[in-house]
Amino acid sequence: MTRFEELLEGQLTGELAPAAKAEFSELLALAENRRAFQAHRETVALLSSLERQIPSSSFTDEVLASLPERQSRSWSGLWNLLWAPRVVRWNVATALALSLVIVVTALTWNSLISRHPIASEQHPTVTLFRFSLDAPRAQHVSLAGDFNGWRTNDIVLADVTGRGHFSVTLPLKPGRYAYMFVIDGATWMTDPRAEAYRDDGFGNKNAIVDIAAPIGSNGDI
């Protein structure tokens, strides 16, 4: 507030001391101050001419009734919780803990996902398939194919009768499999009684077995 405004306030309320009145008169020499003083005098005159309005006794109730209905307590509580400005105090320990949470989440997310892979296809029915070979002179017969990564010592055929009739039964999913027998760990032999054959590209023939999907598993059957 300027000095003139202080004196003006006192002048309008009639509380100026004689020295202040003299000072005020001096300041009125400025045209700007004179205009301000004139405007204030007109305002005071206007206000003085107004008739005093006395509100009715029901005025407060009427105003309250005309206000819009307030939100429910729970919603307003939630609203305040979400939007009310807050001061969050933090320190280095809290920041480190939050960083750790983020790192842990990132590290464990992939492992959690990989532990629960989404099954691409439903459990297919397996078929038990018996592979057998008559090899009276063989001591040891094993089976290798694309069902076991062509490992030659995984699936060993048993000669139950002791007369060189080797056999093994495997559970296989529907599909087509190529295979060969391995005699005494060294000689590869094509199953002479296979359903079908394919050149293996290396100068031999693989035996082929087709395991059909059960009827009804494919709408096209």
Binding site: W90, V126, A144, W150, P171, K173, A196, I215, D220, I221
Partner: protein, 304 residues
């Protein structure tokens, strides 16, 4: 102050829960990978080990499973294959994977070659040719889809791709296989990838039985055009076998089979199923199949 306490308590709880997870994750990452363990255990020079480690890592980045890469290296080293030769084999598999081809058959072929002690250069050649057939096959399968043949899963599409590649490997031309897929798309039966897979596979089988690729395609095409079901298409192998037993040349047998197929109506086909009908398919006597409907499978088909 309440907020501060809440954050502090929550952080402590999360840390308590997170410590076991973190320690497990750290333990997991600190384990040497299967590739590293295999390479370290191999009786090779440091240069050879470094080369295999680098190429193995490349193959893994291309999408080949680490245990498969390690398995190839382990088997190759065990067979005395030189690192430079093993690198070429890994490259063929990785390249197939990069091209988004079904890399399983290529990997299987590499494993098969190593198991049979085939010279690595020959394995690589056969695997590269297979990859090339799979690439052509993949394009044919894509075109088949554009013609309206529906693939219900990625697996179904991959199996069809493998079967078409098999037919290509038997000398069936891309055009003949294109015609086959067109026939399937126009057939009254459902146009599905499994039907294309069966058609391509039976075509390859008929070629294996002695038919020319053209005769084989024509025979399967006749069955497709006639609206035979997938199972009946698969039975063409047995029916050709029966025709061949009647005597005459392979071409004559195939012609008789085609004539029979063309004269069939969908409702007077031979009885379906292994135990029905007069021309029950001949099974090798050693084969016994037993359905086990509920037991989940334990045998995986590697790479598929």
């Amino acid at each position: 102050m309440a907020t501060f306490r809440f954050v502090g308590i929550a952080s402590l709880v999360v840390m308590a829960l997170g410590v076991p997870c973190v320690s497990e994750a750290i333990a997991e990452t600190s384990k040497p990978g299967e590739l590293s363990r295999t390479v370290e255990a191999a009786n090779l020079s440091p240069e050879g080990k470094a080369l295999l480690r680098a190429k193995g890592t490349e193959a893994i980045r291309a999408g080949v499973a680490e245990h498969e890469v390690a398995g190839v290296i382990q088997r190759g080293v065990g067979r005395g294959v030189q690192p430079t030769e093993l690198v070429r084999l890994l490259d063929v598999v990785a390249q197939a994977k990069r091209q988004d081809l079904p890399a399983g058959p290529v990997l299987d072929k590499v494993k098969e070659g190593l198991a049979k002690r085939v010279p690595p250069a020959r394995i690589a050649g056969v695997a590269e040719r297979l990859a090339s057939e799979l690439a052509t096959s993949r394009d044919l399968v894509r075109r088949a889809e554009q013609k309206g043949i529906r693939a219900e899963s990625r697996g179904e599409r991959e199996r069809a791709t493998e079967a078409v590649a098999d037919a290509l490997g038997k000398g069936v031309s891309p055009k003949e296989l294109d015609d086959l897929s067109r026939g399937i798309a126009r057939s009254s039966e459902r146009a599905t990838m499994s039907r294309l897979q069966a058609g391509a596979q039976v075509t390859a089988d008929l070629v294996s039985m002695g038919l020319s690729p053209r005769d084989a395609t024509e025979t399967v095409g006749a069955a497709v055009t006639r609206g035979l079901s997938q199972r009946d298409i698969e039975r063409l192998r047995e029916r050709l076998g029966q025709e061949l037993k009647r005597g005459g040349s392979v071409e004559t047998g195939a012609k008789r089979l085609r004539d029979a197929v063309r004269s069939e109506r969908p409702d007077d086909r031979p009885e379906r199923g292994p135990d029905k009908g007069p021309d029950k398919p001949e099974k090798p006597e050693k084969i016994e199949k037993m359905e086990k409907p509920e037991k989940p499978t334990r045998v995986e088909k590697p790479g598929r």
